[in-house]
């Protein structure tokens, strides 16, 4: 698939050469990058990963995106107006692609290995920039395929040939625009912002997108309803006018002889957009970009902060550590998690977006139902037990933390675990668990307690207690079965989608939360279950300590 895309792109060699790109260099750069991606890093101090990059996970990913594509297809089938249908479809594809590009591809875009390998060679900036764009395009092609395949099949079987081909071309345009604009966005940011600021901006964008998607889940069905009920068109939905997907979709309107000012200006806009995208990215990308990335390589340069804590003063984590951990090994696990999670950019970049769901859900909780007074709404939420859901959503954060703590750019620093005399890996890992749990889960529940008790009454206490214990148990289970390596000892993989796994976990938590909601009126039962759950949780931690992870053993390769 990826090779095919590359071949297709190279068909236009003449054009690329005219743009000042060295095609031979371009080809070898991209081919090499693809080869590197196929081979997972073999660190001499981490476990031998001679397993083939599992085909299943790729297929699984494909399958999920296919499902998503089927959902998008629904719009195309249900809405008779082709212009509107295409607008929605393309807008959805555009936002999914941008989301993937920004969240999963920032590592590729900001890859600083190029710095040492390509830049010292006589390769011009345009070629470097273009190779980066194409590489992203190739990596995302599988996802695009899966998402658009159902739509394409439907369109080709039931629309006229002309409309179908226009649809295909529109799809390609949308992809190009997504890739180019994400690139332009990155380079603009890098040009005008300091590195530190830029990292923050990326964080915010990711958070914004996550919220956007979450909003989509909340609003989507309602919007869908209003579409199918009435005869709406793009002309009426002003919000859609803002989406580049709509602009490109306007070609469909032209096909059915709709030459209104709106459609014509949309078409003009989309052509402008394309020109800006291509010329802009070759203009902008090259100049400061690489030197800025070189600075990124320096890692998180801390703002000149003298003396993080004055002499003799014990930092907070040390105090907590003293209370909750016993052996030095457990303390080691505790402190490494506490400290690195607070400082590593890559960790924060991946975690923070997942936290953004919480406040949004909280707000939506109260927007449910129409025309009620605030007091009525609170009452509603209270009796329906919907507030419980948020406790479980916060659990999602701690699960994400567990996914992330084994990964690090600095995975080679993990040699120390193998050189040190670690008797019980469980001791270390229980420190890890306690740290993650206390830092990323308990605070949420405390906040909920503070907010919910005055709002809903003291009876929520047992709900929070139960949810916390369930969270604890789930954490231990995740630790036992999913965390297969020492903290920060594995290389992160390029361009692997996190979004999907996250959505799945979210679904699972929703089920547990739902069960809780079902029984939430029986206060005594909740108390009983909460107490049992806490006992189970504490026993499990004890058990965890005695566990010796086989998968953590040193495997020489």
């Amino acid at each position: 698939m990826q090779k095919l895309t590359l071949k297709f792109i190279l068909l236009f060699s003449k054009l690329w050469t005219n743009m000042g790109i060295d095609v031979a260099q371009l080809k070898i750069i991209i081919e090499t990058k693809l080869i590197i991606d196929d081979r997972r890093p073999l660190a001499s101090f981490t476990k031998n990963q001679n397993k083939k990059p599992s085909k299943y996970s790729t297929w699984f990913q494909f399958f999920i995106f296919l499902l998503m594509g089927l959902m998008f297809l629904a719009f195309v089938i249900v809405i008779p107006d082709k212009f509107l249908a295409t607008s929605l479809f393309l807008t959805l594809i555009l936002s999914m692609l941008s989301l993937s590009l920004i969240t999963d591809f920032s590592t590729i875009l900001l890859d600083n290995k190029d710095q040492y390998i390509i830049l010292p060679r006589p390769v011009n900036d345009k070629t470097v920039a273009f190779s980066r764009v194409l590489y992203m395009l190739i990596k995302i092609s599988t996802q695009l395929m899966a998402m658009s395949l159902p739509g394409l099949i439907f369109v080709f079987t039931s629309w006229s040939i002309l409309a179908a081909f226009t649809f295909l071309i529109q799809l390609i345009l949308v992809t190009l625009i997504a890739v180019f604009f994400v690139n332009i966005f990155y380079s603009l940011c890098l040009r005008f912002l300091s590195i530190q600021k830029f990292k923050d901006v990326i964080n915010y964008i990711q958070i914004f997108f996550s919220i956007f998607i979450f909003l989509g889940y909340q609003i989507g069905p309602r919007v869908m309803q209003s579409f199918t009920e009435g005869q709406t068109s793009v002309h009426h939905i002003k919000l859609l006018w803002l989406s580049p997907g709509t602009w490109i979709a306007s070609f469909q309107a032209l096909l059915v002889q709709d030459f209104s000012t709106l459609t014509l200006s949309f078409s003009a806009l989309s052509i402008c957009l394309l020109i800006i995208a291509i010329s802009g990215s070759s203009q902008l990308f090259s100049k400061d970009f690489n030197s800025k990335i070189a600075q990124l390589a320096g890692g998180d340069n801390p703002v000149e902060k003298k003396q993080q804590y004055p002499e003799g003063k014990v930092p907070l984590y040390k105090k907590i550590e003293k209370i909750v951990t016993n052996s030095p090994l457990e303390k080691a696990g505790f402190s490494i998690i506490w400290l690195i999670t607070a400082r590593s950019r890559e960790f924060k970049m991946q975690l923070y977006p997942t936290m953004a769901y919480l406040p949004i859900y909280f707000i939506f909780l109260f927007l449910q139902g129409k025309n009620d007074t605030f007091a009525e709404r609170i009452d509603n939420v209270n009796t329906s037990g919907l507030y419980i859901m948020i406790f479980y959503l916060s659990l999602f954060t701690v699960l994400t933390v567990f996914q992330l703590i084994t990964k690090s750019e600095k995975y080679k620093a993990a040699w120390i675990y193998y050189a040190a005399p670690i008797q019980q890996t469980g001791e270390l890992m229980s420190g890890v668990l306690k740290s993650a749990f206390l830092k990323y889960f308990i605070p949420f529940n405390l906040i909920f307690l503070i907010i919910c008790v005055p709002l809903f009454g003291a009876h929520v206490t047992n709900d929070i207690l139960l949810a916390t214990a369930v969270g604890g148990i789930e954490s231990v289970l995740v630790m036992l079965f999913l965390v297969k390596s020492y903290p920060f000892s594995q290389a992160a993989e390029n361009g692997k989608s996190r979004v999907l796994i996250n959505l799945l976990v979210l679904g699972l938590l929703a089920i547990v939360g739902y069960l809780h909601i079902v029984i939430h009126q029986y206060e005594t039962i909740i108390w009983a279950i909460a107490i049992i759950a806490w006992i189970v949780f504490l026993i499990m931690i004890k058990y965890l300590k005695k566990e010796n992870w086989k998968s953590l053993a040193f495997d020489d390769n």
């Binding site: 101090f45 320096g298 890692g299 998180d300 340069n301 801390p302 003298k306 003396q307 993080q308 804590y309 052996s327 030095p328 090994l329 303390k331 080691a332 402190s335 490494i336 400290l339 690195i340 400082r343 590593s344 690090s408 600095k410 080679k412 620093a413 040699w415 120390i416 675990y417 193998y418 050189a419 040190a420 005399p421 670690i422 008797q423 270390l428 920060f488 040193f554 020489d556």
Partner: protein, 258 residues
Amino acid sequence: MEVSKPIIRISNLRKSYGSKEILKGINLDIYPGQVIGYIGPNGAGKSTTVKILTGLINDFEGEVMVNDIDIKENPLAIKSQIGYVPENAELYDVLTPLEYLDFVGQLYGMENTLIQQRSQQLLKAFGLEQNINNRMDTFSKGMRQKVLLISGIIHNPQIIVLDEPLSGLDANAVIIVKELISLLAKEGKTIFYCSHMMDVVEKVSDRIMLISEGHIIADGTFEQLKTYQSESLEQIFSKLTGKEDGSVEASHIISAIR
């Protein structure tokens, strides 16, 4: 110095990767307080020996005894007596040196107060007291190497295994480390020093071992090795590992790119 019994005893050590035999029967007795210079060409089996000695590799043939403990039976007991600084080692550089040493010390089972006290003294001794609370991602390579060296000795090990410990250090730091090695040896520590820098090995080691193609082909003090009719360790090295005439090879290289 060879009054006591050997602290490390390696007998008939063999190790293969697949069908390729890397170590073909190594026999060594190392005594407390010795500084062993372990040299050899690339791929000779140096780092394999080190990995076995530090308990990282467990499936080998032969016997490795450290302080009368069989490394196969109780690798953990041996790991806790060894301080190891790998070649080009990385560290978690978002931490401050103090935090990193705290982490490492705890992995070795040390108590908090002891770690605090020792790491502060050691950082001071290595001239890093200014940077004690700065993150290591601002550090130069030499500063990181110093932190790594400290992390190798903080638990007061009996045996210290150093793999190219001078890489990235400036001339002043090199002097400190060389001095440190001899002081540690005087304290009765055993030092296993792997390097390609012949001039340093020549100076710091009181026993030099040359490994080539899985065999120890020379073993003795620098003075003893001089019987191979060579002036410097570099010459001895190239004579024994069969690359006597480096100039011929270099001229081949030149003619290839001409």
